[in-house]
């Protein structure tokens, strides 16, 4: 059984704390649109806020004297200090990066930046990311296997895709995002990938993927 839940609805009669909920008078309420399965509440919407040790995909937003401001597809900007950096970045470049620290006003300190060359990046709601990753990375493996792409999933809702069949990979990710709250997702994605690769042609791309960066040769 599953129920559609809107903000302000009781999801548990006891206090429980998780993203997309709040506790009031010993009861737990949803704070965002969610789906409740028998005993599991899955948020349908939600914004990314930086969490320590998350791998995310950022876009260089500003260059400062001390480093870079990095857009994280979040209400909050990440800071990448130039202190330990070996390479320089330019505004608009796409990087993978790890959140080292996030303080109470959500300022995120970033480390281990790596340029993502070529390839494409798409954005989906951050709450859908766990489904794109799958249990023990199973969904990513499935996607990589069928599309021949390298896929990097940022916890902040950005997915980087590079390789042979980027269109199919992107379409699959969008499908996962759309159907994240439904049962039997892995099976359905698997049969979708089988059909699409068998047919030898692709449905048109969904959304508006963008190139992560021009390849180094053209710079």
């Amino acid at each position: 059984m599953k129920d559609f839940i809107v903000p302000g609805e009781v999801v548990y009669d006891q206090p429980r704390r998780f993203d997309g909920s709040f506790v009031d008078r010993e009861k737990t309420f949803a704070s965002v649109l969610s789906v409740k399965y028998d005993d599991r509440v899955v948020a349908l919407k939600g914004l990314y806020t930086p969490v320590v040790s998350d791998y995310v995909i950022g876009i260089i937003k500003h260059e400062l004297f001390s480093g870079y401001k990095v857009d994280l597809n979040s209400p909050y900007i990440g800071m990448l200090s130039s202190r330990d950096l070996r390479e320089r970045f330019e505004v608009g470049q796409v990087i993978s990066v790890v959140i080292r620290m996030a303080d109470e006003v959500k300022e995120a300190e970033l480390v281990e930046p790596r340029r993502l060359w070529g390839g494409r990046v798409i954005e989906i709601p951050a709450v859908k990311i766990p489904r794109v990753i799958g249990r023990n990375n199973s969904m990513v493996s499935l996607l990589e296997q069928y599309t021949g792409c390298r896929i990097f999933v940022g916890k902040n809702g950005r997915v980087y895709v590079k390789g042979d069949n980027t269109s199919l990979a992107i379409e699959s990710v969008m499908k996962i995002a759309r159907e994240a709250h439904m049962h039997g997702l892995t099976d359905r994605i698997k049969s979708f990938l089988e059909d699409e690769t068998k047919a030898g042609h692709l449905a048109s791309e969904i959304g508006s993927p963008f190139q992560a960066s021009p390849s180094p040769e053209t710079k």
Binding site: I59, G92, S204, F210, Q211
Partner: protein, 263 residues
């Protein structure tokens, strides 16, 4: 968060340019194709004419109100026609409330020039009595900005005009919600806007194509095939041959829009 959409548009602009090298567009359209469009007329019945135009994901609403106003001193028997455009803050993360800025003013003037030059409306019929004429106010409301506001605004404005009803006047005052009949229109006018990206012109750009482009030309085309307003924007130039061939394209491509407006 949303302010970052500007940055994303710039990154997407690179992708736009790469695709265009293979004569492709982000949404698989032909270089000279409009996005799917639709018009809803009479959506705001409090207004004397109204319409909502959708061009792809771009949405513009338009409404017409009539009031009794004083004529201009040099044209004492002629009615007054004014176009205002508003970039609503809800239409784009960078739009802020406040007095209209240059883009909104340019948009309003462009819509105005097309309708005025095409002589769609006979403002001489707006005379009421001495010192009293009808003022027709067309407001163009940008609701969702996903590229090519000019053509969507022209389409919305013209559709509102085509939906407008001539107000009933008694004792020098407008009787609201009573009408003499449809507002007579001599002809219709819409526009075609082209963006030039690395020298290649495309029709009806989406936002990332707009960001990628460095030259723009808007051509307002009347239903009898005349050019009624033009506006060249951004830095890149166009040759006269380019402009003439774009005029031909505009005439051809605006036909379905003009048909839909008149329906």
């Amino acid at each position: 968060m949303a302010r970052e959409s500007e940055i994303l548009d710039e990154i997407k602009a690179e992708y736009v340019k790469d695709l265009l090298k293979q004569n492709k567009r982000v949404d698989d359209r032909g270089l000279m194709d409009y996005r799917a469009f639709s018009i809803e007329k009479g959506v705001f019945p409090n207004a004397e004419g109204s319409a909502m135009a959708h061009l792809g994901d771009t949405k513009v609403a338009a409404g017409i109100k009539f009031d009794i106003v004083k004529p201009y001193a040099d044209r004492p028997t002629e009615g007054v026609f004014t176009v205002q455009a508003e970039y609503l803050p809800l239409a784009h993360p960078t739009f802020e409330s406040g007095p209209p800025r240059e883009n909104a003013i340019e948009l309003a003037r462009l819509v105005d020039r097309g309708i005025r030059s095409a002589e769609c409306v006979d403002t001489a019929s707006f005379f009421v009595e001495e010192e009293k004429v009808l003022g027709m106010f067309l407001d163009v409301y940008v609701l969702d900005h996903n590229g090519n506001l000019a053509d969507c605004a022209a389409l919305a404005g013209m559709s509102a005009l085509a939906n407008a009803k001539f107000p009933k006047i008694e004792d020098g005052a407008i009787v609201r919600q009573e009408f003499k009949g449809p507002l007579p229109l001599a002809r219709h006018v819409v526009s075609a806007t082209f963006e030039k990206i690395n020298g290649v012109p495309i029709l009806d750009a989406v936002s990332e194509e707009d960001t990628a482009s460095d030259g723009r030309i808007t051509l307002a085309i009347s239903s009898d095939g005349f050019l009624c307003a033009a506006q060249k924007a951004k830095s890149a130039g166009f040759t006269s041959d380019e402009l003439l061939s774009l005029f031909d394209v505009a005439k051809e491509k605006t036909k379905p829009l003009l048909d839909a407006v008149q329906k």
